[in-house]
């Protein structure tokens, strides 16, 4: 045990693993009392909001995609919707459906990666998916098949899976032909079945009995499982248009992190985003197969156990396959693929549901089509405050263990959030210190 003369115990995880981007955790315990829990993000800052200024607005979806290689589509979706709001562009229902299909591709790719390759090794006791593959090849092979289906869709519709090139303000540069998309139907039917099997399996894992009094926040749409549009709703009764995000949520900066941390403006309290929040708010709007499966596995709503997020993510995977199939079967290419627009000096904002939770963008543009101001609030920087709160509440259960085991337990909890550190700095190492 790393304990100094004054009796302070310091537990540290220098570099968290199986998270996207890099950061650590620093826990300090004096006389059995938890002094602080800090999620340290030392991912170098990249200053996206600064260099977007002065760029042509057409470049924004291409540039903001580069914030994150795992969820580039989320950045593209929030940015184009925000810019369209600024320019007064109304997209057609066909473009809207094609965007949902693209987002389904990213949810599939991202969720399959996290559920089966980053998070599942914690439950089965392996350092990673490659090591897990030696004993459980079937899980890893299934993961890769699911992930590939998502990536193939991104490649067809977006040109490539990482940093797609086909997303434009107003729509798409080129709409795929019917035949290009109909080819995906048999694979996605098989994918839906695999995703259902995978969900039944993860529902049987052992979860710590740990529940938090979360204020959950998610985008909610009256008719569908919200992805690109809807009102921002919280479990404490907030219901606002995405334009009012800044009135109710605020980012603050802390010394130990290059990522901002967000809290509710009214209370200064953290809140929870992501798949648990989304299902809690929109269970009734899951696709029929996902809804039936939630009932079959006895999924409780609301679910406030962060460890169960793996099941929520798996249900969303089922949803994404079924919704994608629906779009694929009824596809007609949008004409035109891209709605024309003119420039005007205005501001616009949008929130969409990235795989990790609500992603808010706001832009101000001028009459020559240049960006004059950009604000980006990624899901992980919003969840970060809640992650620290959860660790503080979870630590008393594990604090009597030796340091390495405390560190490992903390890392497992953090991983349940699928944190994306690259995103939050536009985050993670675990350090635990005891006195």
């Amino acid at each position: 045990m790393n304990q100094d003369d004054s009796g302070t115990r310091k537990i540290r995880v220098a570099a968290m693993t199986r998270v996207e981007g890099e950061g650590g955790l620093d826990v300090r315990v004096t006389d059995g009392r938890i002094e602080h829990v800090r999620l340290q993000i030392f991912e170098p800052p990249r200053f996206f909001e600064a260099f977007l200024r002065g760029r042509p607005l057409e470049e924004v979806p291409d540039i903001t995609a580069r914030i994150c290689g795992i969820c580039p589509v989320a950045y593209q979706m929030s940015s184009v919707h925000a810019l369209e709001a600024a320019l007064g562009v109304e997209i057609s229902p066909e473009i809207r459906r094609l965007r949902r299909l693209l987002y389904c591709g990213e949810w599939i790719e991202s969720h399959a990666l996290h559920v089966h390759m980053l998070n599942l090794p914690d439950f089965l006791g392996y350092p990673g998916a490659l090591e897990m593959a030696r004993d459980f090849p079937e899980h890893v092979e299934r993961a890769l098949r699911l992930k590939k289906l998502g990536n193939d869709m991104l490649e067809c519709l977006g040109g490539r899976a990482i940093h797609p090139i086909n997303v434009a303000v107003g729509g798409f540069y080129r709409a795929p032909r019917r035949s290009e998309l109909s080819e995906f139907i048999p694979g996605f039917i098989a994918g839906l079945q695999l995703a259902e099997e995978a969900t039944r399996f993860v529902a049987t894992l052992d979860f710590p009995d740990f529940h938090q009094a979360y204020e959950t926040v998610a985008l909610v749409h009256p008719d569908e499982y919200a992805m690109c549009e809807g009102r921002i709703e919280s479990s404490d009764g907030l219901s606002i248009a995405s334009d009012d995000f800044g009135t109710h949520f605020v980012e603050r900066q802390v010394e130990h992190s290059t990522a901002m941390q967000a809290v509710r403006r009214e209370t200064g309290e953290p809140y929870l985003l992501g798949p648990l929040a989304r299902i809690n708010h929109s269970r009734d709007r899951l696709s029929p197969a996902a809804k039936r499966l939630a009932d079959e596995i006895g999924w409780e709503t609301p679910c406030l156990n962060p460890f169960r997020a793996i099941v929520a993510r798996s249900l969303e995977l089922v949803h994404a396959f079924e919704e994608a199939l629906d779009i694929l079967k009824n596809y007609t290419p949008p004409q035109p693929p891209r709605i024309a627009y003119g420039y005007r000096a205005a501001a616009g904002s949008s929130a969409t549901e990235a795989p990790r939770g609500l992603l808010y963008h706001r832009y101000q543009v001028d009459e020559s089509g240049k960006v004059t101001q950009a604000e980006i609030v990624p899901p992980t920087s919003q969840n970060q405050t809640q992650i620290e709160r959860d660790l503080r509440d979870y630590l008393p259960r594990v604090i009597t263990l030796p340091d390495p085991e405390v560190a490992e337990a903390c890392e497992k909890l953090v991983r349940c959030y699928d944190p994306c550190i690259s995103c939050s700095t536009h985050f993670l190492k675990v350090r635990v210190g005891r006195s």
Binding site: A15, T17, R18, V19, E20, G21, E22, F42, E43, P44, P45, R46, F47, E49, A50, F51, R53, G54, R55, P56, E59, D62, R66, C68, G69, I70, P72, M117, L118, P121, P127, G128, A129, L130, E131, P137, E141, L144, K147, K148, N151, G159, R160, A161, I162, H163, I165, N166, A168, Y173, R174, R252, Q253, V254, E255, T258, M260, E411, S422, H426
Partner: protein
């Protein structure tokens, strides 16, 4: 190289996309994993072993004093060091700060700039240590990464094409978007590797694979100007994901200087 070469993946300032390409090799990943020992890959496994490594894959650019030191250690630990992507090979999109100074950028993004420690510049890995092979692109092409790894496993030097995107358009049978549709395209000066994606989707290449070998930039920018594109807009287009790659940097500086001179002349 031993029977099971030790593979390590390191990340500096970047988006994680290039190292994700390794996990995106869904059909090849498990076979590949059987032939190499993945001993350091934070994004994929909690197994963390110290060097030496046979092959190090390095993603990201150098933007902090700590990272300046860390890359030296990675180099000392690694026999063959491969840089992945525009951040590692050219400084990435974050190299845009090299023109305006870090301070202005920190102040624009962070309310407490005093909490942020960062260098004035974002630079390529090769500006700090010797690099054995550079794989271009934002993001890299996963099949090119596979080619690099297979070459190394076979004991030969990896080869990737250094010609421009135009060649890929011809191979793919894409009608030139500049000639047929008058769309501005950086394909003639941009290195191949993406498969000429953008023109196949009815848009111009935006240079995410960086300058091709011996790019002839001035005639291209002259042509774009003749088509009505302003020097300032061309400089902006060259200053994106590979802004600090020498060929793109020099031409964007030349155009920017011209614009500045014109603006200062009454």
């Amino acid at each position: 190289m031993s029977a099971q070469p030790r593979l390590a993946v390191f990340k500096f300032a970047s988006c994680d996309g290039c190292q994700l390409s390794l996990l995106s090799l869904e059909d090849e990943l498990l076979q590949l994993a059987a032939r190499v020992d993945v001993v350091h890959f934070l994004e994929a496994t909690s197994r963390i072993e110290p060097g030496p490594y046979d092959v190090a894959l390095v993603e990201g650019s150098i933007t902090t004093a700590d990272d300046e030191q860390r890359i030296q250690q990675v180099r000392r630990d690694s026999k063959f060091l491969v840089t992945l992507g525009a951040c590692a090979t050219a400084g990435g999109i974050q190299a845009l700060k090299n023109w305006s100074g870090s301070e202005a950028f920190v102040n624009a993004v962070y309310a407490r700039p005093d909490y942020i420690r960062t260098l004035e510049t974002s630079t390529a890995i090769a500006d700090h240590v010797a690099v054995d092979f550079e794989l271009r692109g934002c993001p890299i092409n996963k099949y090119q990464l596979l080619e690099v790894l297979q070459s190394l496993l076979a004991g030969r030097r990896p080869r990737t094409p250094t010609h421009c995107v135009c060649v890929e358009c011809k191979r793919r049978g894409t009608v030139c978007v500049t000639v047929a549709q008058g769309i501005a395209c950086l394909g003639p000066v941009t290195q191949a590797g993406c498969g000429a994606l953008c023109p196949a989707y009815d848009r111009g290449c935006y240079g995410c694979y960086g300058p091709s070998e011996q790019p002839n930039l001035v005639p291209l920018t002259d042509h774009l100007r003749a088509g009505g594109m302003k020097a300032e807009a061309i400089a902006t287009a060259l200053r994106s994901f590979n802004a600090y790659a020498p060929a793109f940097r020099q031409e964007s500086d030349r155009l920017a200087a011209e614009v500045a001179e014109r603006e200062s002349t009454p």
